[in-house]
Symmetry: D2
Subunit: 416 residues, 4 copies
């Protein structure tokens, strides 16, 4: 078994290596290939990975390479954690929209769109190489925006993939904690798009407890309590960008405000410094602040389900195929799936509640247009996408925003 | 044959009487009942109607009454032109949202929602009376917002109805005129919701001429030319409220700006003065500036199709029933229909183009929530509706807007 | 305008020439090309056509040719009336199944399947030539089995086509006559597949009169009266093959029984003798017994709707596209359509009544398998199709039947 | 926890008691209520159950009662194993159709229809009593025809239920055994209706192995090997009644042939004699020949999934809700489900393969008509159902069959 990390020079890599160490008995990887375009980071991360595995006494060969064909040769599981354009591009994604009074965010809004336009060609390139070089391997994707990536992969490649985001599991855990209900007693319906998902029903001991869940969340959530009560369903925290955009934009435009990208950039620099220390042979404490620990847990659960054909319930980004009404069959959605050796199969969630349906559909249209724009390399489709985005207030702003965004991404989006 | 005008004290009534006179040979109405709550207007309009019919030498009995049961007794066609709350309520619909930086408009946005909340109970009340008193009669509705009325009628009564708006025919005529193509050579696809419709395909002599239509419209339309080119379909002029809201709000907030309601209020006062003149026995010239002349033409075409079982193509507001993909079967849409003695049957238009799909779906969700709010008398659903409306920028604004709007409509929306 | 008759050596040709003469003012064809593989028949029919047109004083050039490219060059309307394998193949289609206790019929059952397998390659060949040689021309198809042809054309070519059968109009006329209701007062819903259609609703003067229609048909129909009452809808007469197969097979196996093909073969020989008479310059009386007079009427109505962009209601075989529930979008169905310059657009008929739904779906599956078998040239798919046919009683009979049928069609179905 | 067995006087009861004993630690039932209309059998089975539980040293109170309200009071899980009309009615279901040349079978064909008509009112009566008396309890149904029962329950009651049949698990196990593949390495798609299901895809170690599965099944199955190869999917053994009806009817009409009901009647008499022996405190060996051992295994797996909220994959009869294309949302189907505390949720299987689609749809229409006939007590709908059944060869036979079948069931189907 050969596991590949696409973007293996990432600061997340030690999380995956740690997960691998913990589950090696059940998931006996013999080779770990780190694939990246940054040789220095590769060296750092390959070194740390080797030290971690050695300390655990596990016979896993670690290679760090910039040669995609070499990395993919014989691969079984390919994990994608790439960030096209790096942290600098992310910070531009966060900063440029704010100048237009629109939310600046890594995955939501115009910033997310730029991230998608930069990333789709690279991820589809990987998937097409996998079709040729390791057609039986699974692509496990956590690269954001994960829902748009899932739609691009599902529509434009034959590579089997699982689209993952640690958000839904985390939000559901938080709801149940607020309700003081242990997870094993609850069944929770989740639906929507990635970073646009909602808890729509909660059952405890088989009885409907949605009202209690809404009330518990109203008291503990980032969004206005009465908003949650009005909706009657629980929005994931990213929905704050939609329901509270003016306030969040104002906050983000305060002098001295640092974007998340700016915070993380600093943290990553420190992490990489620590990783390079030849005395370090385990995850440093700082990594837990980076976020994303849940990814490793979730990724291994999925890989174990695939590998051992163990039916496992997992929220995932998949092509809709009838799971949600009134969305196309080939649009990606985020719903509970049953994962086994055949990969994720969506459970039917039915109608999207009317109070949130229009927003889900509108953002879906934007996402599908973004995939199409990236695949065709079309500025006109990109403009259609931005105009379709609910956070963009007018045609005039869409035009102005797109000009600035594409200018800031000229290196990565050559057709613009 | 007995024709009823619900809201017969309206300034439109002479248009319908004029239409009746022109088509009497083909559509031999023997009684015309004007039904209204305003006795003075009834007297004025009944008088003018009698003079017009007398001058034409037609044996049509005219009654003006405030007694609904009397008016509906024996009715064959009931035309609804009511305006619940009158012109004063309309002006508040236009003014209140502007104070919140949101478009103020009779049918689009929060103003349209208030009009719907005022009107649905009255129109459903009429339809239920028709179920009892004249179950074979057709309700021909032009009361706005026509699409929301169609959904309320289709979901909550069994009265057969036709939902009409003279917009689509007018916009299509304008497109063809801009193309210099005579209508008989063209087939035009139209789809969307009422006041949210689009020309999506144009064929001339059986060949696709959509690009030429887009180009012709770009040069002659109220919306930005490049917007139309980017969309690749032609939005109806009401779409300006969505694509250009900030600019239109700014214009409407200029000192001295009069809303359409304010302009029409003055015109109506003058019209009613003229109607009361015992020497007048025809439509006055001023009426043509009031707008809505097309309604009479269209309404009689439809009534003739119903009466004579003449298959006629007519754009109408109907329950979707599969005409448009990814919208519920019982949601109203605006599409070409074949009308015969069985009423309108939608032609399948298929997928809503992706560039406009999200907007259509989002406004549809708002409309369906509005119907539900009116039928259940629920402030919470009204808040869901306003929050779902693409022109409302945030939860905070939705709450503030609803407070002010319901305050201004306390007389008409008692549950608020 | 150039009109082509594919199979122009057919005995039907004078019907079309007669229709052309009657409508020439409204439908000014300048050239009529008869295309056939039988030179002698071409000569006969071209001669008669010229004499008929000359007598009418119309300047229409008539050409008879075996050269498809020459015939299609410049064509506007191409009418297909071909019969691949001729009357001898039809008679084998009728005779072979009877030996297995299964109905022998030109369009229904195993015989119809053989006709489809012989015809699909030829008709698709024509349609593909039309794509190249006259891409704007319409293909008007009456070649049977018309529903299967429509599915083959709709799935496998881009040539615009109209699938026609004179059955539905005739059966509806018969129902209304039995009800003593003039057609202009009725609206009739028709749905199903070709030669598997049903009158499902009748309205007279806008009121539901389905029960009266069922009662009237029960008294005047080829099927058992109580069967029609039990179904509550009116099956077309071909449904007798499904509901009364054992009796009809027994009748057809009586000594001395002649199949319809055997009767028509004799009639056609006589017709061709008469056509060859240089003194004949009009349709002979005998032709009216041949059947199919309605085709000319219907075909010209459709060609006029196409040519003049006149919206016309016409039952037609079209891809389903959501017109009937629970059948695939790309399966052909038979429903009322609105025909204009863009061709036929199906009216949505909704759910197939449960009493007939399973039969319609089962025959549809057989039809789709037949199209696939013909296109792929696959004996296995042909066996799947026959096994799926409701009239074939078992696997064992399906195998035996297919062997005999393909043996009898070796010349026309080379892959078998 | 109180477990009820509806039809607790059944010879199956010791299987369920045995299952209960084996899983008591994980599924701590405190009361077992046997509910039946036969007091003598109740006494026998309650006695044996008490002896079995006593021998196992388990503190489970056993009650035998004919009082439904008493049995349901406080119930948690209600298992239905009733047989309305008893074995005598079953034998008539098997014998009457044979006289008409149609298969006689407990669940398939006209016999199954009679069983459904007898059983639906009783099972719906139970479910409605459960709505009132124990609204949180689950109904676990194995009473045949299980798919028709599921549709009746799903359409006409609010009682939560799980529809079970041990067939699919058994057939899948047989396929994998024929392939020599251990179950944990395989993922198997199953779809259709109850006793009309098919293995449509098999993956082994994540790779498609459907062709090997078909080949393995072809060699080991009750149906013709080439039939299975031709279909490309593996029919469950009940499909022999459809594909090989003439042969099976002939076999069943041989002199001396005993129906399955006749064989089981004898076995049951012997079982009941053994059960009555006060010295017996365990399942007798003979019970394993009765069949249905798998039911206990499956039923407890499902009850454990419900009770402990343990996600479990289980093929079940559920309302379709989009799991299979081209079947109504409220029609029951048989597909893999994920069962947790919320009950079974179908996994989407998508399109039914074309080679079997028509048969599945046709039988589904028959089943839905049967449910409607039973609920409305309508002979006309029963006739529609029988006419819609693919095994009934004509209208004439449908009428004759129905007369004889209803005559034989006069006691149980009073409306007939």
């Amino acid at each position: 078994m050969k596991m590949v990390i696409f973007g293996g020079g990432s600061s997340y890599t030690p999380e995956l290596v740690d997960g691998l160490i913990q589950r090696h008995a059940d998931f006996p990887v013999s080779e770990l290939a780190l694939l990246d375009i940054n040789e220095q980071r590769l060296e750092t991360l390959a070194g740390l990975s080797r030290r971690m595995l050695a300390r655990a006494g596990l016979p896993v060969a670690v290679t760090g390479t910039t040669d995609r064909a070499r990395a993919l040769d014989g691969a079984t599981y390919v994990n994608s954690v790439i960030r096209v354009g790096g942290m600098e591009a992310r910070i531009r994604d966060e900063r440029v929209p704010l100048q237009h009074g629109v939310i600046g965010q890594e995955t939501t809004g115009p910033g997310g769109m730029m991230k998608a336009l930069r990333t789709i060609p690279v991820l589809l390139g990987l998937a097409r190489d996998m079709e040729r070089l390791c057609p039986d391997a699974w692509l496990i994707n956590y690269t954001n925006p994960s829902g748009i990536m899932a739609e691009a992969l599902g529509k434009h490649t034959r590579t089997p993939f699982v689209g993952l985001c640690n958000g839904p599991d985390g939000w559901i855990a938080a709801v149940l904690q607020a309700m003081q209900v242990p997870p094993e007693r609850a069944v929770v319906d989740w639906l929507g798009l990635n970073h646009l998902g909602y808890v729509t029903r909660v059952w405890v001991d088989g009885h409907d407890a949605t009202e209690q869940a809404v009330e518990a969340a109203a008291e503990h959530w980032r969004l206005a309590p009465d908003l949650i009560r009005t909706l009657g369903v629980i929005p994931c925290s990213y929905l704050a960008y939609y329901y509270h955009q003016p306030r969040l934009v104002e906050e983000a435009r305060q002098p001295g405000h640092r974007t998340r990208g700016e915070v993380v950039r600093e943290m990553e620099a420190e992490l990489l410094r620590q990783y390079a220390d030849p005395g370090l042979a385990s995850k440093p404490d700082l990594l837990s602040q980076r976020g994303g620990g849940g990814y490793s847990e979730m990724a291994f659960n999925v890989m174990l389900a695939l590998h051992h054909n163990r039916p496992t319930r997992q929220i995932s980004q998949v092509l809709n195929q009838g799971a949600l009404d009134d969305l196309p069959a080939d649009a990606s959605v985020e719903v509970p799936c049953l994962v086994d050796a055949r990969g994720p199969r969506p459970l039917r969630m039915g109608a999207v509640p009317l109070a949130i349906r229009g927003l889900v559909q509108a953002v879906k249209a934007y996402e599908s247009l973004t995939v199409q724009a990236a695949v065709e390399g079309s500025r006109r489709l990109a403009l259609q996408a931005l105009l379709a985005h609910p956070l963009v207030p007018s045609w005039e702003e869409a035009v102005a925003l797109l000009d600035d965004l594409l200018e800031a991404n000229r290196q990565w989006i050559p057709w613009a």
